[in-house]
Symmetry: C2
Subunit: 309 residues, 2 copies
Amino acid sequence: MTVYNHVALIGLGLIAGSISLALRRNGQPVKITGTARSAQTRQTALDIGLVDAVFDTAAEAVKGADLVILAVPIGAMAGIAADIAPHLKTGATVTDVGSVKSAVIDAVGPHMPKNVHFIPGHPMAGTEKSGPESGFAHLFDNRWCLLTPPKDTDKNALAKLSEFWQGLGAMVEIMDAKHHDLVAVVISHAPHLIAYTMVGVADDMSRVTEQEVVNYSAAGFRDFTRIAASDPTMWRDVFLHNKDATLEVLGRFTEELFALQRAIRTGDGDFLFDYFTRTRDVRRSIIDAGQDTDAVDFGRVAAAETDKK
Amino acid sequence: MTVYNHVALIGLGLIAGSISLALRRNGQPVKITGTARSAQTRQTALDIGLVDAVFDTAAEAVKGADLVILAVPIGAMAGIAADIAPHLKTGATVTDVGSVKSAVIDAVGPHMPKNVHFIPGHPMAGTEKSGPESGFAHLFDNRWCLLTPPKDTDKNALAKLSEFWQGLGAMVEIMDAKHHDLVAVVISHAPHLIAYTMVGVADDMSRVTEQEVVNYSAAGFRDFTRIAASDPTMWRDVFLHNKDATLEVLGRFTEELFALQRAIRTGDGDFLFDYFTRTRDVRRSIIDAGQDTDAVDFGRVAAAETDKK
């Protein structure tokens, strides 16, 4: 069943592209309009069929839309919210896919007219790629989309948005925005910052050549470089807009790292062994929950075989 | 061409198992004997054909072998070296696959008789799995094996060992042991310790439930859990035996993390953006060097498709 007849995508990158492809996969009739900051992105999105029509401005793109999805870096959201506000259809739902929710509520909420439903969201899926051509239809399959509706959100509007995400393949969970922002740091923001840091250190060690780093990366480092290849603008905005939760988790991380560092310095093998054993169990739970594959070789065996074909 | 007629595997885990399978893949006649500490591992290795004969002790397993490969945690190497020393064939080569080289040279070197060649080595490949059944024939294909021969190593013996690793699919590089130990921290040991730490923090945050961590892990965290699922005994020994280089790189890491943390606290978006842009280039080099795939969705698309079949 078509949940919304007309969807407007503001921003046409990995997430918006994947939403479009997942919508098309369902074969339901839905009109998709969109816009992006760069003329080249707009043209590409039109050429590869992500949108039925593309517009130079967000104000034009949202006209008549039943669902408006803000899929731009968090720092750009307030400006766009102000631009589109006068052009939103009565009864439309406005949502977003930003990685931080309190900041989006602060940036977008004040601009929203009373006759539209504003329900922030965050699909917990992505890759290190960006741009309209990086999307794929099954990105959200079996992944979670977290919705953080403000108090007094219309129940029907919330039910419709949940149904929309389920139609894209996702599972939906309702969550408090502040709690979301802490959870997101633990499972996404802190791992990204740490990966960026480690890759920066490797790039910077004058006694280890770049060629050595590159050649021998299969021993663990390459997974960090994959994470650290994510979109710089998006991630800059994430950290600037989720400051408190990020600094809290980094504080915990440093404390923990110092404890392990101390165990290494003092030769406390039991401490290290116990720590490394405990973390194995977390991995098991993630595989059991279907959130990663158990394939050996870091999931690269199957990928490599496919490459050969 | 068969490089060694008889290979003895001391320890029968992921690396030894993969060596055996890669040797068998070549179809050359080679006798493989082996031993492992646990009776169950010995039996499994025999049952799945990793070895032609299995022995209760390393002393028996090395008898008549042209090449002896120590594939046990670093902490176990000195004891094994002492045990096998009187039973080594004249002219045999003894090597290892440990992740640290100076410590192995200190532990094994003094026990080696004058009539054998001792050439430490480290194949830069692996997965988070362990045990005899986790090996696979193409683990070393297109990966690097670093050899750290002591001064005065016999040139022919070194050439033969290089040829052996090339026969398993690897590329060989000769390196100074101390330099190896620093490179290994940057591209392997530090990323592992950091991943263990982050998974430990997530497991420990009382305000974030384990179910939340597991469900939403696709947003970055799951790559950390994969690394942090590696063998605890092996990694305990790595850190205990590569203390100085590990502490040096962790010091650099913390300094860098604090710089990023400060940029977040002060809202320095340009610093963050520039940092995140620089790390993207390292990723590109690794893909160009064939040390990872460029497949989207963290290499999990192909794996997931395979799972469905």
